[in-house]
Symmetry: C2
Subunit: 439 residues, 2 copies
């Protein structure tokens, strides 16, 4: 028996995706809608290398990312490097590197590919693409107004119905003052409590209390306060003892302005949102899908008061958010917001006779010059087979050029949608196609 | 003395680049011109993960890449992975994974970021972005016709003058038959000789002969043959003993068709081109910059007859090329082909009074809805300072909205190019701006 040849697997690396043309078309469409939105607000695109020094993440990213999720390694020159798990450290490095020359407000966006070593599961991969939008150099709450307007404008641009999402807003100092003043917790305890709060929606009440009680000195008194905090609206929270009044005022002004600008039903004050990152210092927000089958955070962000402190003595306040492609695609699918992207406006030209190859290419060139995408066969074969290829590729129009047509300066134009075939003068072909294809 | 705070460096990882908005605008412009060109030929975009299994490169890439230039490491799950140094292995894997369902000819392109551990130098970085264009499923020379038409069309799209580049074409089997039949070299010797040939243009004649002679059995007889081969045109090479007549015929037909399609002065037969990669099996080509200060290969590619052989028993012939951003930018700069990309068509709205913030945002929203990019200040400050910000950002138009203007339903429109300032009715503003900005 001949030895079996062993083949390499065709699957991509675990937890990652191949973007075949259909998936790529979707990715390009989705991010082009987002790009257009943020560019309409004057944001400019930037990018940085996907490899950064390990030190950058060690200093800036959370412990879980650095210790368990980072793709880090030693390069051939003995430098410890890492594939970026998030864009903010790169952004901070770049802004710090040129901070004096950049006109404020700095408005930047990026669409990086990010990597984390996670156990792959539904909606959780090891890499994703993420829109990052950031605004620097404005301390006023008006920066929050703009960022939340953009977060909303993106959804509007995708024609998301008003009820399909909620923008939940809070302020880091509300929770901080509640934990340290109202509950009178020391800083490490406060951090542990906020981690349990962050998971609350994912566990049962019993589990929640089971984890929370050991962290409290007087659960019987403090647990009711916690529930009361979590259920508060802006009015009732302002009456709780110890809550930071500046944070209350900040949120009030923000809501009043956003309401005046039409962001109303979708805007919710929710003191329970925590956001995992350590660097948020002010307002935080999260956009939630209201689809009962996908009730989860779509994207979120907040204010960080000293983003570039690791790199220089300059002070620069920023606010921004990140939006990943995987969860956002689920949102668009769940609400039926994805248009038909497979409509192919490329015209197809078969080869009827070997000797006509050059003439077919010349015809294709004519069409391309007039702005019509055109692909041709490159070898003759049975007509039926060539039409089948056009159909498989999703082309609507097939243009036949035989010796007779060449002599007459005509072509046969077949519409695969209707099956109709007509003779068209070569001079009229491109305008006729442009009209039908609306290109 | 207080301890000096130590800051992290703001430079990117060695051999890589930060794309600040100016550089990003250039990158986006350059690849959008390329995208448009290849899409006009019906090519569809794909992408794959930047990490692949090490095995893929071990099996497909050249020895130098794998042993000295690969960014490979062990992941947290003990898999050996590598950052892609080239796109072809990913492409082969993806095509093989779906080869039966893909309509032939398969026309694909991609713009991946690729990484190699190299000693950084002029025009040599550790990462670059590369257009990859590939065509599968056509054995005829007509595939070469199309690919070289595209290689040329890209340069035309950038308005490269005819004399600014040359497309040098050869066929792998010409060199192979010359080495094994004409020079009568055994396979390992032939490979070593072809490596020396590949470097010829970079070394002196003396160095060339010094490296070549030890590989030959009879240098006095063989060296003249080598020089004669390298200087041959298609006619004279066809008369050399032992040269593959099929390769000659292939090149003749290819040149005849391309000449008939207008690719003439820029097309050169050059038997000296080798191309480093092991997987080319047929026609090979390279596009050269003729700029005396940048006389080098801009991009190139060729035919590989069994791309997916590592993954399956299916046979699939392909042809393609790759074009990197760093060398291509040098070409565009050298020939003065980069347009002014810094023209900023974003309109700028200062804040004249704190109380007018909401009204400024409403005005900005009106402009955005009518398709005009608009950015606003977010805090009031001296007018002169706000205008300075607009200037620094490169905005041409500044729109002032004060209490009087709000009451009159007008704005003041200032053109920073001319310094002219006029009162404009709010109703006419967007059409006036669109006309001036040509958006």
């Amino acid at each position: 028996m001949e030895k079996q040849k062993s083949f390499l697997p065709t699957a991509p690396y675990k937890g990652t995706r191949d973007f075949y043309p259909d998936e790529m078309r979707f990715r390009n469409w989705m991010f082009s809608v987002m790009r257009e939105t943020v560019q309409s607000f004057g944001y400019q695109e930037y990018d940085g290398p996907i490899l950064e020094s390990f030190e950058l993440y060690k200093a800036k990213s959370g412990e879980e990312i650095v210790q368990r999720q980072l793709y880090d390694f030693i390069d051939k020159g003995e430098r410890r490097v890492a594939i970026r798990p998030e864009m903010t450290p790169t952004l901070a490095r770049m802004v710090a590197g040129n901070v004096r020359n950049l006109a404020k407000p700095i408005r930047w966006f990026s669409v990086p590919n990010l990597w984390r070593y996670e156990q792959p599961g539904k909606g959780r991969l090891r890499e994703h693409w993420q829109l990052n939008v950031d605004l620097f150099g404005v301390k006023s709450y008006t920066a929050e107004v703009e960022i939340i307007l953009i977060a909303d404008a993106i959804l509007q641009k995708f024609r998301a119905p008003k009820g399909s999402y909620q923008i939940k807003v809070s302020h880091r100092k509300l929770l901080d003052s509640f934990l340290s003043n109202t509950l009178e917790l020391k800083s490490e305890k406060a951090q542990a409590v906020s981690k349990v709060l962050d998971k609350k929606s994912k566990v049962s009440q019993k589990e929640f209390e089971g984890e929370m009680s050991p962290l409290l000195s007087d659960p019987a008194k403090q647990l009711p306060l916690i529930y009361s905090y979590l259920d508060s609206d802006l009015k009732s929270i302002s009456k709780m003892p110890g809550i930071d009044p500046n944070a209350i005022e900040f949120i009030s002004k923000l809501f009043s302005d956003l309401n005046g600008l039409g962001i109303k039903e979708q805007l919710v004050f929710d003191p329970s949102i925590v956001r995992g990152f350590d660097y948020y210092t002010g307002c935080i927000f999260e956009v939630f899908d209201t689809n009962p089958e996908n009730r989860r955070s779509l994207y979120g962000g907040g204010r960080y008061d000293n983003l570039i402190g690791l790199f220089s003595n300059e002070q620069l306040s920023g606010i921004g958010f990140g939006l990943g492609d995987v969860t956002f695609k689920n949102f668009l699918e769940g609400h039926g917001l994805i248009p038909d992207l497979n409509r192919n406006d490329t015209v197809f030209i078969p080869i009827l006779e070997e000797g006509l190859f050059q003439e077919v290419i010349k015809l294709a060139d004519e069409l391309r010059i007039s702005g019509i995408k055109t692909e041709t066969m490159l070898e003759p074969s049975k007509i039926a087979k060539q039409i089948q290829t056009a159909e498989k590729k999703g082309c609507r129009f097939v243009v036949f050029l035989g010796s007779d047509e060449l002599a007459n300066r005509t072509v046969q134009l077949k519409d695969l949608n209707t099956g109709e075939q007509v003779s068209v003068s070569r001079l009229d072909l491109s305008s006729k196609l442009k009209e039908s294809l609306k290109v």
